[in-house]
Symmetry: C2
Subunit: 379 residues, 2 copies
């Protein structure tokens, strides 16, 4: 093992922003990239055609959810998650570590793993580093994640250090299991380790140094955007990328807004995922090239001329007005949600495309600083 799917193409002279490619059996992923979340092997309310049309290069699914329903063996029977959900591009699975950790009173963490109660039917289950790697072998994503313990925020140095010890132990066990148990779907699955250590830089450094010895195929930063100030999140990510190997992909998990993404790219991050664009879509909040639009606002009730974003060429903006979108939202029509998800994901993906073009042109930093201001405007 210890293969490296990542190819570094360029690093900006004025910041740590990078261009790269992740090579997978299901195609190449150009970085920096935003990964739409398809928790249950479906991106909320949209079809594989919509996913292709918005030019998503990689989709994320969740081991925890697929383990409980329909079961990872069932996904394996279907020929892996890509065939199961009718999406033939690259995929990544989250290990489920964050989900079982989030169950709080319904889980017990031990040296061996996490015992938890299913909220679907009350049944008891055990996730261990080995069982979670087996589940990810069955699901068959191109990139699979280590099983980690998320460090709560805030946490003392001692608490964060103890949590980190467990994550590192589990990461070693996962790597060993993977080495003894090759992929079952006939193509490589790249193993990413997860940097923890809370907001303590010395622990983040300790985590990185220990992970380097384990030798994963790529590096994720976990335990960010868990309640800390946004500047702290940027600072920790910045610190981590200073110490992570240049030649490996760097992934910040579960972050964030469009401006968060630009700030992270500037700090040397290659990959991000977040449920925010789909979740906010459900509340009638969309991101646009002019700022944040809450289209359910009364002032848009009679606007039948303007799409959600006049500068967007997504299916929603090409065909529907703000006034109609507001009507769908008020009438609780499922089409309103679907169209908003299409717009928001398209917006994120195309923002990343613009970021790549600006890094290539050596104009990223000025552009990004301006965008960070514009994108936060409330329309």
């Amino acid at each position: 093992m210890n293969a490296n799917p990542f190819e570094l193409k360029k690093t900006s002279k004025k910041s740590k922003a990078r261009l790269g490619v992740i090579h997978t059996a299901h195609g190449d992923v150009t970085t920096p990239i935003f990964m739409p979340v398809g928790t249950n092997a479906t991106v909320k309310g949209i079809t594989s055609r919509d996913i292709k049309e918005m030019e998503a290069e990689i989709i994320l699914a969740n081991t925890y959810h697929l383990y409980l329903r329909p079961g990872t063996k069932t996904v394996a029977e279907a020929g892996g998650v890509q065939k199961f959900m009718g999406f033939d591009g690259p995929m990544l699975t989250d290990s489920g570590g964050f989900q079982v950790w989030s169950l709080k009173q319904f889980r017990k963490i031990t040296e061996e793993g996490v015992r938890f109660k299913s909220l679907l039917d009350g049944s008891m289950h055990m996730f261990t580093p080995a069982s979670v790697m087996q589940a990810q072998r069955e699901i068959g994503a191109d990139i699979i994640m280590a099983f980690d313990e998320c460090t709560p925020y805030p946490s003392t140095v001692d608490e964060a250090d103890e949590s980190l010890r467990l994550t590192l132990k589990w990461t070693r066990e996962a790597k060993e299991w993977l080495e003894a148990n090759p992929p079952i779907h006939g193509y490589p699955q790249y193993f990413f380790g997860i940097v923890q250590g809370g907001m303590h830089k010395d622990l983040r450094l300790k985590s990185i140094e220990a992970l380097k010895e384990v030798g994963p195929d790529g590096y994720a930063m976990g335990g960010l955007s868990v309640g800390e100030p946004v500047e702290t999140m940027y600072e920790i990510a910045d610190f981590c990328t200073d110490h992570l190997p240049e030649d490996r992909a760097r992934y910040v998990m579960g972050v964030g807004t469009p401006w968060n993404l630009l700030e992270l790219i500037k700090r040397g991050v290659d990959m991000c995922d977040c449920i925010l664009p789909a979740k906010n879509a459900q509340d009638g909040l969309v991101y646009t090239s002019q700022g944040v639009l809450r289209y359910k606002n009364q002032k848009f009730a009679h606007d039948f001329k303007t799409p959600l974003d006049p500068n967007c060429d997504c299916y929603c903006c090409r065909n529907y007005s703000r006034g109609y979108m507001r009507h769908l939202h008020k009438a609780k029509e499922p089409l309103g949600w679907t169209l908003s998800v299409i717009h928001n994901l398209h917006f994120y993906i195309h923002l990343m495309q613009q970021a790549k073009a600006h890094i290539a042109d050596d104009t990223f930093e000025e552009w990004a600083d301006e965008q960070v201001k514009i994108l936060q405007t409330n329309l």
Copy 2:
């Protein structure tokens, strides 16, 4: 007025099945036709592209719903319902008569019209024949319906006769209002009268004769599929088409299953609409060329080879398996509903296309009799 958008092309020699065309400003509609229901100016969970792709030739929207939200004046501001919802094909609006009648304890019927309470905000409203015609002028559908009182089932001859008297009075008032108030969107709106009379043939005949004197542009049969045995429904429709003018379109409102449609076509019906395919889609029930499929059944959990209907070329059947559809249903994922709606509506529309081809070939009756049996099979 008294224009006739309908052109009769052929009547079968072996039954009353007909081929025809309804000419509208937004395009031609070939009959027999099934009209997908887009109550709130949106067909549940699907886009205009999906509607086009399933080859829907005409969509139905509802005056009652659009009156309450966003308001028919707002729809008029958008340039009419087609522009409002981004669908540039022919449309029909139901008058809202059935909806306010269904409110039962929240409405009061008088000679002038129906006073009712909005279930959205408790406000009081009054529908009169004139106000409903004005609302339909504002919405701007190509075919607009008379404001009628639906006759309950069962009803005595006296009750049904009294109800019919009111419907006829309102139909005359509606026609007078329309003659004094031309369309506002720059294209014709054809006015269909509604035959009532309960399950009493003499009253249905009385209704038809009186309507002929009013002279609507087409004829609908209302008050069917309201609890009566299916054979009675067929018998009343059959009786009505025996007495309706040959050269006018005939529309049975709110019916029904795929086999109901074939039976009605055989009895000389040209147009149908029903919420059934979208409603059943939500429950994981789909119609297929082999029968009725409840794909949430456990026996389909591991079927990743078969689409909902192996003989269907809808977007869902081209891309997704029964096993995946079951997963979406169990996980309550909105995509499951959307894909099921796409399949069911595509199935209805393509069944009508087959019916047309068989009427053209003089093979409709044998084919329809066989289909009526197959389509009801429980898979």
